[in-house]
Symmetry: D2
Subunit: 349 residues, 4 copies
Amino acid sequence: MIFASDNWSGAHPAISTALSTHGAGMAAAYGASELDKAVERRFNEIFEREVAVFFVGTGTAANSLSFAAVNRPGGVVMCHREAHVVEDECGAPEFFTHGARMAPVDGALGRIDADHLRHELARFRPGFIHAGQPMAVTISQASEVGTLYGLDEISAIAAIAHEQDLAFHMDGARFANALAATNLSPADMTWRAGIDILSFGATKNGCWCAEAVVFFDPDKARQFPYIRKRGAQLFSKTRFMAAQFMAYLENGLWLELAAHANAMADRLRAGIDASSHARQAWETRSNEVFAILERPTAEALRAEGAMFYDWNMPHGSTGRLGENEQLVRLVTSWSTEAADVDRFGSLIA
Amino acid sequence: MIFASDNWSGAHPAISTALSTHGAGMAAAYGASELDKAVERRFNEIFEREVAVFFVGTGTAANSLSFAAVNRPGGVVMCHREAHVVEDECGAPEFFTHGARMAPVDGALGRIDADHLRHELARFRPGFIHAGQPMAVTISQASEVGTLYGLDEISAIAAIAHEQDLAFHMDGARFANALAATNLSPADMTWRAGIDILSFGATKNGCWCAEAVVFFDPDKARQFPYIRKRGAQLFSKTRFMAAQFMAYLENGLWLELAAHANAMADRLRAGIDASSHARQAWETRSNEVFAILERPTAEALRAEGAMFYDWNMPHGSTGRLGENEQLVRLVTSWSTEAADVDRFGSLIA
Amino acid sequence: MIFASDNWSGAHPAISTALSTHGAGMAAAYGASELDKAVERRFNEIFEREVAVFFVGTGTAANSLSFAAVNRPGGVVMCHREAHVVEDECGAPEFFTHGARMAPVDGALGRIDADHLRHELARFRPGFIHAGQPMAVTISQASEVGTLYGLDEISAIAAIAHEQDLAFHMDGARFANALAATNLSPADMTWRAGIDILSFGATKNGCWCAEAVVFFDPDKARQFPYIRKRGAQLFSKTRFMAAQFMAYLENGLWLELAAHANAMADRLRAGIDASSHARQAWETRSNEVFAILERPTAEALRAEGAMFYDWNMPHGSTGRLGENEQLVRLVTSWSTEAADVDRFGSLIA
Amino acid sequence: MIFASDNWSGAHPAISTALSTHGAGMAAAYGASELDKAVERRFNEIFEREVAVFFVGTGTAANSLSFAAVNRPGGVVMCHREAHVVEDECGAPEFFTHGARMAPVDGALGRIDADHLRHELARFRPGFIHAGQPMAVTISQASEVGTLYGLDEISAIAAIAHEQDLAFHMDGARFANALAATNLSPADMTWRAGIDILSFGATKNGCWCAEAVVFFDPDKARQFPYIRKRGAQLFSKTRFMAAQFMAYLENGLWLELAAHANAMADRLRAGIDASSHARQAWETRSNEVFAILERPTAEALRAEGAMFYDWNMPHGSTGRLGENEQLVRLVTSWSTEAADVDRFGSLIA
């Protein structure tokens, strides 16, 4: 009953097999091998256009280097108040951009509200040097609190961003979960809705270590090879990442794994909804569930070996904690087993 | 006949097996799993003392973050004129240190000369703010041009470094090859000779992606977790790196692989010495060989499928190129096959 | 009727005279002259203890380099939501600290609230690397919106800061105005209340360009000469800044000038209070006044040549704007003339 | 007999007068005053074209921010081995560029040799990410060792720089001395010879603190206001710098002062040439003289109150020190008096 995080899972057997298979023989390093090229073509197919794709080692690197690629002096990134880039990356986005500011924008349940975004941007008057200059907007899809942006919401934010010549970035650490939950195509979810750069995460969803930065306009990526290398994110045996991506993207494995994680979350949500000792703190989709548990229930679960983290009420949540209650986060993954979810369900019943 | 670089090799089957085995199940992320802890203990054993060890994704990251850990404002790293940190890391050491300078020190064949080091350091007068302040000395073992520092040379440099309160760093991208070539213990090669921080490379020698920063005084590493995370080098599923290290360090696999690479290089050296169309440009040990080839020989080799890079004459080389000659670098690895070496030998005979 | 900003004023004649006087002859550069040393001693006297004082060229430099001096990797500065370091320095604090985050703390009218500070700090759990680590708290005295911290408020914040081993910094761009408004001694306002580092501003109050960073524990300043030089803030002819400070601090000129500016602001406040077309938006002290004007009144003033800026309602303001009203900021300075204030008063009467 | 440095001099009376005159009254801050605008026009006239000019506080800032303005990721600045940006700026150029490397180029007596430059640039193969990418060439005019580039030399370097799309920067800390020594026009010395950006220094030559960055193509300067502010170099009362420049540039004062300094250096050179205890180490022009003194002579001079610094033999110097000799640097300035020079001359006679 491990619901601590999807990064507690390991690697899918298909990923391991790919690594074994491609471990033999010699191949050009630094992204020049046939396998690397094949993955690049695969990304073009998946996104239905030519993209520029760059492997990096962590989601933090993907986000930080994306911002570095579009930074301006005194640059400001508009992001949700509780974005991963603010709360969980130890200042890496600021570090890699030479001090760009992550400017908080409000919005319920992990999603930037377009009106608030417009309002915050209006505070930056053109030519008022002292305040710095916005250079990007970033959203997380799925969000940090298990919610999803609708396509109309993404498009509305894109319109504001592009009106002001800002790059529009999507943190897709759980991109596959968002796709699986909506049945949207990768292209629809991203560039067709106005996304310029995507942090494409595969690690949480069955890989060991496979992240990529995807530029939908390859022209904008011309300096990125230097940005990545200077950022110590150019791996030598890129085959090891290419092999993971190859297996991950083959025959829709990635969407299957995400769908499984989402389904396990659905099952968890159903169990919680059926319980009189627990309730969902807010509606989530994808593979994260936030539950308000009675304290004795939480203790009993942990005594039985359940792993999950206590959580703080996010900005804009309408749920209220009773005195004897606590908020917890439950994350499912590609490797979550139904039996564990059911056992959890029966323990809270 | 691929002698392009040791990073053209893949992963040893034991590494792949470890990744498959440890891919199952759930484990704490971010270095907190049992496997991570086991690897840490293994490093203590190998170095015969308590060390602080941190996994990172690239050798460039290991070097750059090592410098960041000991940096001072206006900091200067004394390094060999042709060190990897100067020539091949796209400014990452400067980037991660907020602008420390890599100050070139002369020395024959890739090795800092202690007298030159002392001379260069003397240029920094105490309290002369304008010049900045030295903060570290770094050496590569094995060096970039296939040579090795003797223990006495390392100790002599250590004495100078510590006299001036400078951290002494070793870039061990090919550390195992240096150990295998000298039969020295890891402890003798490092902290017993005065090394404070080691970039411990395993990628080139049979892993996919496994690098570590080793602090011989764990007290000096207290800020390093933040430095690593801010540098986007804290991986979530650290198990994947721990699994590689576990297999790599088990039963001396790492030294066996390095010994094989070195032996293949010896065989190559013998072949070159026996040839009348080729000669060694200078004496190397470990797994790099630098050969002066007659141009037609080089062309013939390439026509037969041999892969190797042309090289520039390094500083301090006494070899001279004839008009019809060229200098090439040949690198062997854990996966180099004797048949390929022999074929190369017969082609130049 | 120029109430745009105190930095629209020029230099007091005593400052000009000092610059003329000290312009002759030769003197050691880079802070080594007798005059530089005399100013350092003067700072010791003023603060009633040995301090380490460093001249810099701008308030932005003083703040940014102060933070750089106490930074930690992944560092976070706790500051008021509307602090100058957030709103008006174009990311310089982040830039000079290699990406430290300015973390917003709430509090009414430009002042950090100690309870909110404690609450925000509690979010950083020890050892939770991802969130980064707080390293300093900064307050502005006088604040950006004309208010002042009481000594008890400063002490309360100091207690929280020091409990958690954070440096406590005061942005004293208008330090003299705060002293003049409270009749507190420089020592009482700063280190006796727990301040560790002060940005000591003199530019707004009668100098041309004279700012200093004051460390109340000189031991903490040992690396600062390098930090300043690397930050391009070590001036060669430091005499020009020393001469300004010497005249500024002689016979209490600085407090006289600040008292004049404050008195002019009092006169302005009185005029506003007496008007039926204007009212104070909130109570201020020192040399800034925030007024809510009827729009026709504002227009009439500007038609008569009055200069002042429109302003946004700050966080925590209880004033409300009527439909036909606007908020404006009025700043007085050492060179504001009573006649101008009176004319302004009669125009709004 | 102060020949320590030209920055030991103070400010010319005309500068002091300008500061007094412009100290009165109110004027827009941050470069928006009439006086600021007038100085900008003056720069256009002096350079015979529209330029973009930005005041900064130090020569180090001028150089560092110039590089920041043209930087690329993994950027490399080609500079003379003994350039001020390498030897005397405590890593500020690297700091402000987020880690650009200052790559040393050889050349006799402080001047980059065009052939060596071409040779060093050839080491950067297009697309070889690991080495980083050149982004600028910088020269100092007058050089650090008192020599001057001829126009043909500047043009030759410009051709190489522009061929490779590199910005060409001139460090003009002693620009006026170079003009006065050659009778060339500011336009001929800079943009007509291919210079893109000039660090225009006035501090050493009679101002207190007046440096500027001049872009000969204003389009390239569009981001510079943010770069400067983020770099803490936007002064509030820019009038104080504008006033200095106004007086400095009026009626050719700047060239007169430089001509005086040069003439004093000529007189010094003549005295040295006439001595049998001293000789010039190499031929200089402008206001720096390098002399080889017999040790007893040097001691005698110092005993009489002469101030000058010992110096190291620069790269490419053909002079040789005898056992009983030492190399010293002698710098004259706008305020050097002929009597002092003559006294020096008679002491070495």
